[in-house]
Symmetry: D3
Subunit: 251 residues, 6 copies
């Protein structure tokens, strides 16, 4: 049974990575996985959260959110509801945790990098696009910090981080699910991996269905291959010169 968009089961949607999307943050990336578009900004702030003061270590954290107009049916604004939903919390924590896996926090000194991942348009895989784009924004912020003489170690990133979704749809293991597949998937898994092929995070869920160990193995195969392709796209994007003016000019 063919996929609606004609891709083969283990094929990614078209990936586009646009650096320097905004003028003020130290890193700002628009990442697109097909119709899914996420704006990932890396802002540098002096100081660290209270529980970390005096440690000499920096901090990297993330906040994920969805514009009300990003989805098919308008979503209520969490600021208006006065509380952040469980899904938002969960993804924010996932993004922060994933990016902390690649960085030596001691090199930052007591500074914080906040990765804001705001979904402009949602069509499945927003959290994996967010992680993939946030890595590029983080890399640009690190370059900016280095240029500003604020790093004790000039190369604090030990690897790159990317993420992809994989699932079982129509009884077949498929990579990078758009909303149309995601909403009817029997199993849904998100995998975060490094460019060395090691795993950072695996979250696999079967709602209304369970899955065998061999399906698990095949999903991991697809996802690790997909992350390999994404890490190449990240490298290619970062090999270009920074577009326009230097980021964070105003600060």
């Amino acid at each position: 049974m063919a996929r609606v968009d004609g891709r083969s089961d283990d094929e990614l949607r078209e990936v586009r990575i646009t650096r320097g999307y905004q003028d003020w943050p130290a890193g700002s990336v628009l990442v697109e996985f097909g119709r899914t578009r996420v704006l990932c900004a890396a802002s540098v702030q002096d100081g660290v959260p209270r529980w970390r003061v005096g440690s000499g270590l920096g901090w990297v954290t993330a906040e994920y959110a969805m514009l009300p107009s990003a989805t098919n049916t308008r979503g209520a604004r969490e600021s208006v509801k006065g509380r952040i939903g469980g899904r938002t919390h969960e993804i924010s924590r996932l993004v922060g945790r994933s990016l902390r896996a690649c960085i030596d926090l001691a090199a930052l000194g007591e500074n914080t990098i906040t990765l804001d991942c705001d979904v402009i348009q949602a069509d499945g895989g927003t959290r994996t696009a967010a992680i993939t784009g946030a890595y590029v924004a983080l890399a640009d912020a690190i370059t900016w910090l280095g240029a500003a003489g604020k790093l004790s170690d000039p190369k604090p990133l030990s690897c790159s981080i990317s993420a992809i979704s994989v699932g079982v749809v129509d009884g077949r293991v498929r990579l990078d699910l758009p909303y149309e597949e995601d909403s009817r998937a029997e199993v849904d898994m998100n995998v975060v991996a490094t460019d060395h092929g090691t795993l950072v995070e695996v979250q696999g869920t079967g709602e209304g269905a369970t899955y065998t160990r061999s399906t698990m193995d095949k999903m991991l195969d697809f996802a690790l291959a997909g992350c390999g392709t994404l890490s190449e796209a990240q490298s290619a994007a970062l090999a270009e010169p920074y577009p326009g003016e230097l980021p964070g000019k105003r600060s």
Copy 2:
């Protein structure tokens, strides 16, 4: 004393209006006043707020917000703080009130149009850009509703709406203030007007200074001329065919 960006005192920054920026909402416009960029989406929802049920009238409302990464220094997310600030409330109400001035709500039937104005990048004048862009998104949503056979009157918009800031900087009346001027203005005024040259809303404030009646008169002159130029830009944008697929295709 010349302006930093070389404009004359009564000159607007470059205005760009991009329709069809997102795929799902019935209207979606990226509006730019120089470096200020606001995404304005018009979403159509069945039904009206509880206090209006049974009236036979529709409703138009707005929500304004700022991405944390939109400003020079990262701003805290209002959803995380758990409450909306006074400034956000004030601007959301202004945008909604302004756009309701041009529409016959009876023509909508009991349907609601929500205008989400999310600031992608802030450089002064975000509320006036939001109003100006929201009008274009509203016009596209009205076209979409008409095509869907949901309007009792095919032309419910009686005029167009635009808005501009004006103020006193360095002792001179100036139009369309960027952040650099806005942050040190002695008087700051926002004017919302129609393409007929009538006024919808005037909000003039002198914090730390007061202003004479003749300054007030000159500010109104500049602002009404600026709104005239903006309403031409809106007409020109709306004269183009809708880019790409029809909006709100998925709904």
Copy 3:
């Protein structure tokens, strides 16, 4: 078409200003515009908000609220709802901004004056009555601070501040609208002015209607004349000796 209460179009309702209404605050004024009654208290507190610490400057801020029983139909208590509504925020900010226009904050040292404006009974024009009464309470608080030896400059008030509403009702420009007129006004404007005849704030709104430049001009004429009368009433009230004991005796 005559007004229900028999006033001419440019006439104020009866204004009463009662100083020393409460015993503890440094200034406490009950102001009445006809049936509208607002209790304005000026409380002095050591210290300033965090963002201002170390500046050597004082701060003046305001909080506006409505008793649930003040309105025709009982209003829900904002403390019970757990959040402050947009209208309340907007008016609190307006009152604070307006009063800061008349005071040299350096003279206060790092002290804060909070102006609490609690509406006891609402019949239109509560925000303008609040500003007019808050000025008198502020003046009394300044006298109290001077007597306590806490001012670096004995005359920190450069002018007086008053405010009045004006609007278009039944097609006519009218001053100082009671609820009966306000609720069906085509245009509604609030003007804050000094006793020198200069403007502090102008907020004019046409909901469901727009207005011409010449209507705008006539509304400004009426409002500036009305503020002139109010500033005389403020002077007369402040010319009396402080009633009863000295304010803030207990502190």
Copy 4:
């Protein structure tokens, strides 16, 4: 050891009860116990809380609050804090429970009377003044409901309700404590009683001290006598004709 204000141990402060203080609510009473002043308004609303719908019974509830400017040192506004404190909750519940003891809720039909008790000035005993004033406002609201033909039983009030504080100060049992005594009392008790001399509520607390059974007995003696005097003051106030126009005229 004499009391600061010269009263004997079992003597009340001067009590003043002013009916018709506000124009819109069905009952509105300013009650004063010495310098303590509480505005008690009784508003009638159609319908009952959801858990009571269909019961055929009415509901009486209360909300107590303190103006920020009512106290010696300005108190933070609970609407601004976004939550109601424990003390406010506790007193609101006490007032509602106390007043429900005198009324046949079946006679109201499915209507709600809300008793808003807003403290204008605090000098000890605000909760007992609130209960005493709320009874008078409730009686006026009942008269108003009767005149409007909304009562199934014309006399739904079976008794009157008043309340007083009593405590141990300087080792002596004393009645109706002002702030100066209340703040250093060893034992503090509030008693709510009917004009028949029966008890509705007794709340006695020794913080930092405990008290014997015989002290308890003496406190009850003083309090029941004080409530007797208060119920006479209520009767006298209600024997007067309603001042000015009929309450709730506008509704």
Copy 5:
């Protein structure tokens, strides 16, 4: 008319006190009054609330809560509702106030003991069981603090504290009401007393009924006798060696 469980009117339900129920807190007690079961934990924390810093005094506070599954019909979780209800606030304050009556806070130094009273199963009398159990947990925490050398006075507890409910059911005064009696009681009173027979707190309420002075006297007689029995049960429990390992081992 006999009681459902066969007790005489002045008889307590079976009382069980289990110390050392949890491993980490300095004191942890499961107290049972018949089917009512409350887990009372006393946790020691360095420091005191901000308003007490620098006083040299310690602090004892309490938080009462009910598991959703503790009641007959599942109760909504207050953390999910985002606010604590009036009843919870009221009881938390009662428990804290009651326990502070027996301790010399100066002996603690600037340390805080928090008494968490979590109701595992509710069958009437949860607040009185909480107070009775919290005293035993507090006593164990004091022993732990003494062993850790953190007390300036080795015997800071001047008495023991217990509490019991009493009410009027079927026209008869009865002690220790289970839910079946409590839910239809005409009068409901909670009494907190010391092992010396003095009173700490009396809270008597007649909702829908009032009560005479002689009923009040009889309720106090029953309650003081009941508290006497409870204080013996507390002594007996505390006379046993601490079960298992020392509490708070991990800290």
Copy 6:
């Protein structure tokens, strides 16, 4: 390198399952994994959430929480903070999702089962204990519903569900981590599985470390074996007659 408690790397802590722990819920289970103790209650309520009304389907949801006294250092109460933390949200969602994998929701009709998992004492693995205990509580609630004639299909559970943690500590893959191991684990994974050996959910995280595909494989081996042992313990517990009275007697 041996484990502190002497277990082999693939060995579970002692598991105890106590049914009928509370009297009111339809199922109530205390589950213990070593020192970790979680109370799991299954409450049945008429009706389903609003978005599911009219579907004919039932709903199973879960709420996880931690008593403040459950942890080594007292944790702040989420009801007092006024919001639920990210971790709590995440685990509540995990528990609900996991249990929905074993049940045919159509058989419930439009009824809701809420699984409250309250941690009495925490020593690592609280979420996996919660899932394991919640299954047993759910099974008892299903029996109760069947006895009450409320199931359209008498056997709506298609399998049993259990969960276990596994991680990398001291460079070795280890099963069922207590707090002492969990707090320093390099990789931490939770696995939810059925008694058929299929997977429901896999969540593996390396904070500060990444892990290879072969480590992933070994962790899955250990976890699936552990879940096998847990499902036998569940079966054994459910094979016993229900202790004491029938659950939910009062409802």
